[in-house]
């Protein structure tokens, strides 16, 4: 059991302390976006906007150089985080959705067979479904086991002669279940199939190494497990991946080859037209430094909080059904018999200042898989600043809700 963490004490932001003391706010929606952010992240964003908010790579003055330097350092930090040696293989986008759109739409220019899983987020399934509807690809959504975990043997069975791409959500944003990306990546590599991993939920929580995991491309977002600001994400391409297979979706100003009307064909400029979100990138760098420093503590804490909640809720909350395993790293979906998920989250928010998320979590496939479609579930998602004390309070509130339901017949 966890009673106070060094990371909480050291990094918890003052605004959160204020909110807590004023309103007893409990934030259990970290899978949507982590909150609060470490103080160092906030300071970095503000410092960038105050002190060196120039355009990187567009001018020769020192403010622009300073902005370029932060962009490069963040590229380098991301390359290190994902086990890539060439920092130019890090491409900034605005979030994981735009990054996945670039990878998927940029790769699928010709006909072919694509495999994905039943726990995908709409950021993957919608672009893939568009290609399927347009007759460009044949799409196989592999069911996996009861939790949606897909094995290599399933891929082997589904493979066709023209299989060209596998897209996998590393960690479900609904149940927290994790796919065996190393085994799948290895099989893809052996079969010359490109692999894309959506690590929106797992980056900063689980180690991902493109070389060791045989993954070609990861799509990341900065504002979840990496504790950066919203509006920054991107792709990391493995050192061996030929980026020319991806067609850029946008073309325009890059600050390079400015005398030419041909778009640059080298990384990362080929995919990075337009001004970058430098304050977001500056904040992300501090977020990466933070999760790198506390990597093991973060994983342990998220696992312990999940276990603590599941064990206690099963014992104390009548009619609760939990769809996440004891191995979940902070993402817990549940329903309570006789209470709609939206009713639960509304009451938790309005009456108890507990922030959680109801419904389908932008992943209808996952809810079909676990049998909670169309109503969905309540999701509690824990971050590094949550505590067992907060879980105790939430469980008491859920209990109260159940008792009121019995009394009032809600």
């Amino acid at each position: 059991m966890y009673f106070g963490f060094l990371i909480s004490d050291q990094y918890k932001v003052s605004v959160m302390k204020k909110l807590e003391s004023q309103n007893n706010l409990i934030y259990f929606d970290n899978a949507a976006t982590t909150f609060p952010k470490p103080e160092t992240v906030i300071e970095a964003v503000v410092e960038c906007m105050r002190m060196y908010g120039a355009n990187p790579g567009r001018s020769g003055h020192w403010l622009s150089v300073k902005a370029s330097d932060i962009v490069f350092k963040t590229r380098l930090a991301l390359a290190n985080l994902f086990g890539v040696s060439n920092p130019m293989h890090v491409v900034f986008e605005s979030n994981a959705t735009s990054a996945l759109n670039l990878a998927i739409k940029g790769l699928l220019s010709g006909k072919g067979h694509v495999m994905t899983t039943s726990i995908e987020h709409n950021s993957t399934i919608r672009p893939l479904h568009r290609f399927e509807k347009d007759g460009v690809i044949i799409l196989d959504i592999l069911e996996g086991d009861s939790r949606g975990v897909v094995s290599v043997s399933e891929f082997k069975k589904a493979k066709k002669n023209n299989s060209k791409l596998v897209v996998i959500n590393h960690m479900s944003n609904v149940t927290g279940v994790v796919q065996p990306i190393r085994e799948i990546g290895k099989w893809c590599r052996e079969n010359n199939i490109i692999s894309i991993v959506d690590c929106s939920q797992s980056a900063g929580v689980i180690d991902i190494d493109l070389k060791k995991d045989f993954i070609d491309i990861v799509a990341f977002t900065g504002h979840k497990g990496l504790y950066g600001p919203m509006g920054i994400g991107g792709l990391v391409l493995s050192d061996s991946f030929d980026y020319r297979m991806i067609k850029p979706l946008k073309e325009g100003g890059t600050g390079s080859l400015s005398d030419e009307i041909n778009h640059p064909c080298f990384l990362p400029d080929i995919f990075e037209s337009g001004t970058l979100n430098v304050p977001g990138i500056a904040g992300l760098l501090k977020g990466i430094e933070y999760v790198t420093e506390f990597r093991e503590e973060i994983e342990t804490k998220k696992r312990e909080l999940s276990r603590y909640f599941i064990a206690k809720a099963l014992k104390k909350v009548e009619g609760i059904k939990i769809y996440s395993g004891m191995d979940s790293l902070g993402v817990i979906s549940f329903t309570i018999k006789g209470l709609s998920p939206s009713h639960i989250t509304n009451i938790l928010s309005e009456n108890y200042n507990i922030m959680s998320r109801q419904g389908l979590h932008c992943s209808p496939l996952s809810h079909r898989k676990i049998g909670t479609f169309p109503e969905g579930t309540v999701r509690f998602s824990f971050g590094v600043f949550n505590t067992t004390k907060e879980i105790d309070i939430a469980i008491k509130c859920l209990n109260k809700l159940v008792k009121e339901k019995s009394k009032n017949g809600v």
Binding site: G60, H61, S256, L257, E260
Partner: protein, 74 residues
């Protein structure tokens, strides 16, 4: 003609920053300066280095796979 310095130009400022990092890590003193328009159409900056260090820098950047556009002696 005697040269005092060299300008190392890159395809974009992303590579310039990478090169700057690599050179500084190796203790090679260099300076980031605006790209002279008469030399290149890139909008950003390039690296100015003492002429005597040109070969050493070139060898190091090549070894580290930092792609150089060209080197201009000034």
């Amino acid at each position: 003609m005697e040269f005092n310095h060299s300008l190392i130009l890159f395809y974009s400022s992303n590579y310039t920053m990478w090169a700057n990092n690599v050179l500084q890590d190796d203790g090679i003193i260099c300076k980031l300066v605006a790209v002279p328009r008469e030399i290149s159409s890139n909008c950003g900056h390039c690296i100015k280095i003492e002429f005597a260090l040109k070969e050493k820098a070139h060898e190091l950047l090549t070894r580290k796979h930092v792609k150089i556009d060209r080197i201009v002696d000034i």
